[in-house]
Amino acid sequence: MKITFDSITKRYGELIANDAVTVSIESGTIHAIIGENGAGKSTLVKMLSGQVTPDSGSIAIDDKVIKGFSTHSAIELGIGLLGQDPMDFKNLTVMQSFTVGHRLNTSMMRNGLLRQEFERLNSVYAFNIDPKKKIYQLSIGERQQVELMRLLSNGAKVIILDEPNSGFSLEQKSKVFDALDGLTEEGCTVILVSHKLEDVLEYASSVSIMRKGTLVDTLDLPQSPGHLVDLMFGGHQEESVLQTESVTDTQNLVAKVQQSGQTIDLNLSKGMMVGAIGLQGSGVDTFLRNMFYDKSFLLTDAEGPIDKSSFGYVPADRLERGLFPELSILDHHALSSTLGHNVIDWTQIRSMCEDLIREYGIIGTPETKAHELSGGNQQRLMLSMMRSDINVAMLEHPTRGLDIQSADYIWDKLLNDKLSRTVTLFSSYDVDEIWNYSDYVLCFHGEDIVASCSINSISKTDIINNIAGNVIGRDE
């Protein structure tokens, strides 16, 4: 089925998720949609699956405009969405999960027909999944395989893969894509929304690049990964290699960072800012969280592993993981400053809180509840909660979703404070941010750190190529 998006626009309040996106996807192809986090890819394909309604614009299938998509009509039309979270049933068996909602299912479960169907797909695609197992016993990759079989079995002519991720082992992945290849030969259309450039380059025949809600370009593959990353991030001005102020301190730290079995030596001086960058879905997503929580991830200096009680962690999901939605700013400050079992002196805390609100420019009063704050203010609140004895500050995507003012402010603060800390680590998807603020950079590709060096000794292009996996001399 040929799919045409015509001038699709979708707004969420101030945020423009899709801005007049127009793209045509030929039937019988595997078409990829790439873009950084927040580019609008998921929103776009969710319109096809009926989960999101466009504010304006239309979608046509086989050149016929379809009015009013719903999840129901999408299923009827043969559109199947395979998301990151397979929508299955943990405690049911594979066969049962396969059967629920199946069009071939009759009222009696003596469904030899369905069983045959399952076995057929199972062997054709060589998934070899045991139908008697319970869903919770399968790995995520296997669960997605089952979902794929189910969608196909239900007559899906369009399969949308929305960021199928690291759950797949290499073997499983190639099986799935082999299956999809076969399908396209039969006229099915596959839309692959992904961050994994190697998958896109290997399996797709064409690609659309989205950035900040607009469709940048649609190209035929193959293309060079560096070129694609460039388009994803809006190109860059190659600047001459940046000279950061050398931070002088008589003590030179050689910090070791342990990440998925690797031990990386960082040549740091005290007070440096380390930027970790990678594409979404790479190890950069979990790097800082693991450093904070996982006992086997360590930061070591000359005297041995640094005590984690001096670590401060600011997660990307501010309200879900970092703050207490119903509690007030005052409560938050009280909490972070009285971690021992103390009687709280509210007058003192209140004046401290008011000072902090002023100092960090939080728009709100001590009584304002966390869920009432805007994203920028939530971030400021989290920063303000960081105790002064924190030696290692770790911030995930510190300026994600923030307005320019807040972002600038955050960086000002971080740069000011970095000298008094042993090291400040932050993660980002934005090359410019890394370029502007890091003294030291860690490039992630997949789960591994593929480059770690001072910002002085690497160029922006190199960074981009590193995270794209386009390192000279590497085998793909």
Binding site: Y313, R321, L323, F324, P325, L327, L335, H341, I344
Partner: protein
């Protein structure tokens, strides 16, 4: 506002049951606050129900349901009787030790519930329910076994405890000083904990977001256990009151359903301790005045319970459907126009 509406709906229910709401409420008032004896009883029962509601409010602040209150109250009673039957029972030390024992026994029982939840991943409702029955069984065992009455074991209870262990009344007014002191001090202590201590703040936080809680380097499990411990201790006191002020012995099902009523009260009180006291007092009047209903109006003893439960039910539904908000809007609109 929602409470008023709920009261109204309950009155309608009463009418449907063939009872006049007005005369019912009058009789209840008469039966509860107009006599010294009954007023005294109202105070005692208010104390018991308040303590129970407090316990629930504590666990609600950690986002937990403590259905085990009945069991915790029973354990508190067991603790109190244990002391009363010991060599201390005849001395002045008895009452203070009864109180301490009640808190310990109740607290530990609450802790078990919390452990089942945190370490055993048992849903706290089923754990609480199960433990309620275990506690009930424990009492029966004690009553017909090791603590049985002289002579014949009977399920009507143990021997009466020594008089020194009875909670005394003050003055001629039969003022139940101990129960009031107990629930009053618990109120103050809990208010203090929540208003002024790090512990209280942490309890609220762990109920708000366990992820953010561990980010601060704290252990959510530990504080949830704290919550259950405190709750159990608080409602254990109610058990001591049952023993010291009312029964003066250990009887099966000594908690008398007041634990569950505490749950209802906590639901309606919006997690505020002071409101819980007011509602408890109201419910206590219903209970005490209820016996007057029987005598004067020939109505059944279960009527107070019906009133209590239906108020809560209507309140829940009204709140959820925000009918009362629509009413307020409608009413203020009409006033605005006139």
């Amino acid at each position: 506002m929602a409470f008023g509406l709920a009261l109204f709906c309950t009155s309608i229910l009463l009418v449907l049951l063939g009872v006049s709401p007005w005369s019912t409420f009058i009789a209840i008032l008469e039966g509860s606050v107009l006599g010294l004896d009954s007023l005294s009883r109202v105070f005692v029962i208010t104390s018991i129900m308040s303590l129970s509601a407090f316990a629930l409010i504590v666990t609600f602040s950690c986002n937990m349901w403590n259905i085990g209150v009945e069991g915790q109250m029973m354990l508190g009673a067991i603790g109190a009787v244990f002391v009363a039957r010991s060599f201390i029972g005849d001395t002045l030390l008895s009452i203070p030790f009864m109180i301490i024992a009640a808190m310990c026994f109740g607290g530990i029982f609450g802790l078990i519930c919390g452990l089942l939840k945190t370490k055993g991943s048992v849903h706290e409702i089923f754990a609480g329910l199960g433990l309620d029955f275990v506690a009930a069984g424990l009492i029966v065992y004690l009553v017909i076994g090791p603590w049985k009455k002289e002579g014949i074991a009977s399920t009507s209870g143990t021997d009466i405890i020594p008089e020194m262990s009875w909670f005394p009344h003050l003055f001629d007014f039969k003022f139940p000083i101990i129960p009031i002191l107990l629930f009053g001090s618990m109120y103050l202590i809990l208010r203090f904990i929540y208003a002024k201590t790090s512990l209280g703040l942490k309890l609220k936080s762990v109920g708000s977001n366990t992820n953010a809680f561990s980010r601060l380097g704290l252990s959510p499990d530990m504080y949830i256990l704290f919550g259950f411990l405190i709750a159990g201790a608080v409602v254990g006191l109610a058990g001591a009151i049952q023993v010291g002020s009312i029964y003066h012995k250990l009887v099966p099902y000594i908690s008398g359903g007041y634990g569950f009523l505490g749950i209802l009260i906590a639901l309606v009180s919006g997690r505020k301790l002071s409101i819980a006291i007011v509602v408890s007092a109201f419910f206590a009047c219903l209970v005490v005045g209820g016996s007057t209903l029987q005598i004067k109006l020939g109505l059944h003893a279960s009527l107070p319970g019906i009133i209590q439960a239906s108020i809560v039910l209507f309140w829940l539904m009204i709140k959820a459907s925000s009918v009362h908000i629509k009413l307020i809007n409608a009413v203020s609109k009409s006033y605005g126009h006139s």
